[in-house]
């Protein structure tokens, strides 16, 4: 390493640089890096192609889009809770596991930023990535628009609900990712947790609980379910309770991510 450079090119002016940058800028910096690293690897493209193919398969083949004879995207959105069950953890599993595996978490958390800025930045980057993948399903909207006259408000609600649900799954994946440096374990944990959110309100599950559990527990478990909240979005209803549900799952999971990261460092 050059010692000449030290004397020839002292860091003149560096100290004049703005020392204080806002939290938002840190979050953007981290999100930008994260998003760039998605697209730097083939994983992003494989994911998007896979996502679009599956969307098409379920919508047209399983959902019988054309046979329905109605100008709506019900056949498309109805599969999203199940599609996301595997695809979202695949996106979220690396967020913190990778940092721990590479040891870069030590760099990141000794930078002059707060852990929250890193957690939110990483989450937003992955969410934006999922939003891009979801946005690429726009030909479906064009198709129903061409074939009939759909209610675009309902379609918009469907997309909004789908995005919020993806965010909730993603926040859970971030949380399980912080638990372990092994991405496979992180993936499985988050699939299981998300599966619980899907099944919690499902009649076979509640019926099983009804036989022995007190009523409040049955209702409590059922209230965790992602399905009824997403269904109202599909019907074109934006209910504040559904918004609160998804946003609180996101907030709670990210908060827990912070607690997990903190406890790792505390040893």
């Amino acid at each position: 390493m050059s010692t000449d450079a030290l004397t020839m090119n002292p860091a003149a002016g560096l100290s004049d640089a703005p020392a204080h940058t806002s939290a938002v800028r840190h979050i953007i910096t981290i999100a930008k890096r994260e998003l760039t690293s998605y697209f730097a690897s083939p994983v992003a493209y494989v994911f998007i192609v896979f996502f679009l193919l599956l969307c098409g398969f379920f919508t047209f083949m399983v959902g019988r889009f054309f046979q329905r004879g109605e100008a709506s995207l019900i056949a498309f959105f109805i599969w999203h809770p199940w599609l996301y069950l595997f695809l979202v953890p695949a996106v979220g599993m690396r967020t913190w596991s990778e940092e721990r595996r590479l040891g870069t978490i030590e760099l990141l958390l000794t930078m002059p930023i707060t852990p929250w800025q890193a957690i939110v930045g990483k989450f937003l980057a992955s969410w934006l990535f999922l939003a891009i993948a979801l946005a690429l399903t726009f030909p479906l909207v064009l198709t129903v628009g061409y074939l009939g006259s759909p209610d675009y408000g309902v379609i918009f609600c469907g997309y909004l609900g789908s995005l919020l649900m993806a965010g909730a799954y993603l926040a859970i994946s971030c949380m399980t990712s912080a638990l372990t440096r092994n991405q496979v374990i992180s993936f499985i944990l988050s699939v299981v947790t998300c599966l619980f959110l899907i099944l919690a309100g499902w009649p076979p599950v509640t019926d099983m609980l009804v036989q022995w559990a007190p009523n409040w527990l049955v209702e409590g478990v059922a209230a965790f379910s992602v399905m009824p909240h997403f269904e109202s979005f599909q019907r074109g209803v934006i209910d504040s309770r559904d918004l609160v549900y998804f946003l609180s799952v996101i907030a709670f999971s990210l908060f827990t991510t912070g607690v997990i990261i903190r406890s790792h460092r505390a040893g």
Binding site: M1, S2, A5, P10, L14, A17, R33, L107, P112
Partner: protein, 324 residues
């Protein structure tokens, strides 16, 4: 610049760092020595704010690291153990990212990245992905990251680990040069690095500081320091030893080695003998006895010996020395 008071870190019931206190001022290069698992890395991780201490206080540039971490962290450049870096980024992208997190923007950032690249000779790999780099280059990339904001404080965990001898030399020279204007702490288990780069060294063992001083002061702790060895031809070892022990300046004498036709002895000065008094008396003895003196040498004391003596208190240095 760095003040550490009674630092303790417990992992479960195990005390990784036990009541460590030290200060580092601008212009000092502090070497952190110790066997593997002594608590060097844990201490550095606490000083950089990566892990919180169980108890104790850390002040960096006047800011309390636990209660006011952001301004404290701004002053620090950190090279963690094993030099981690994002493998999916290019060297340029990585340095740009860290500069951005350090709050550098626009022209300042460009200048800072350029300067770090120049100092660490990264020009040739600037647009290469980090995971295609050799270990030396990856190490330099992470090193460049730690100096990108020209920090007042530089903390490096085994900065020469895994480098070839030339690169080691470069890093040591760089540390010494930068140490004139900064406060530097680095850990190592290579003792020659202490002489090559440090103004002061701390030896840490099982979480506790067992020695703290300049490399010279540390060497003085060695039994060997101040001893004189001499090699004489044509005198049997036993005779040599007997004669030497009769001198008032000699406290103790050992035969280091007997070769065919020559003996090699080492004399330890008695209490109160001044500098050079021992050597002179030995020389006079040799002249009186008409010994064929091949070599007469004042011993400096070896860091390695001090290190082993203070990090393994159950085996005293003297017994080891005789066993050699």
């Amino acid at each position: 610049m760095i003040k550490v008071h009674n630092l303790v870190k417990a992992f479960g019931s195990k005390l990784a760092v036990n009541d460590v206190s030290f200060t580092v001022e601008r212009g000092e290069v502090l070497g952190f020595l110790g066997p593997n698992g002594a608590g060097k890395s844990t201490t550095m991780r606490m000083v950089t704010g990566f892990i919180p201490p169980t108890s104790g206080r850390i002040s960096v540039g006047g800011f309390d690291l636990v209660n006011n971490p952001i301004p404290a962290k701004r002053l620090i450049g950190y090279l963690p153990e094993n030099a981690p870096a994002y493998t999916d980024m290019t060297v340029y992208g990585f340095l740009n990212f860290t500069a951005e997190l350090r709050g550098l923007s626009g022209e300042f950032r460009k200048k800072a990245v350029h300067r770090a690249v120049e100092m660490c000779f990264l020009d040739s790999v600037l647009y290469q992905s980090v995971d295609t780099l050799s270990k030396g280059y990856r190490h330099r990339t992470c090193f460049a990251q730690s100096i990108i904001h020209d920090p007042d404080i530089l903390i490096m965990d085994e900065p020469t680990d895994g480098l070839d001898p030339n690169q080691k030399h470069e890093v040591r020279t760089l540390i010494r040069r930068m140490g004139e204007k900064k406060a530097i702490v680095f850990s190592t288990h290579i003792l020659e690095e202490v002489d090559a780069a440090c103004t002061r060294a701390i030896v840490i063992d099982r979480g506790k500081i067992v020695a703290n001083g300049t490399p010279r002061e540390l060497r003085q702790k060695s039994d060997l320091a101040g001893a004189v060895s001499l090699r004489v031809a044509g005198v049997p070892g036993a005779v040599l030893r007997e004669r030497l022990q009769q001198l008032p300046t000699v406290k103790r004498c050992t035969i280091v080695r007997e070769e065919p036709g020559a003996a090699w002895a080492r004399a330890y000065g008695a209490k109160g003998t001044r500098d050079n008094e021992l050597n002179q008396s030995l020389y006079e003895l040799a002249v009186r006895e008409q010994w064929k003196l091949i070599e007469l040498k004042a011993e400096e004391g070896r860091l390695e010996e001090v290190f082993r003596a203070i990090t393994l208190p159950d085996t005293p240095a003297t017994s080891k020395e005789q066993a050699q």
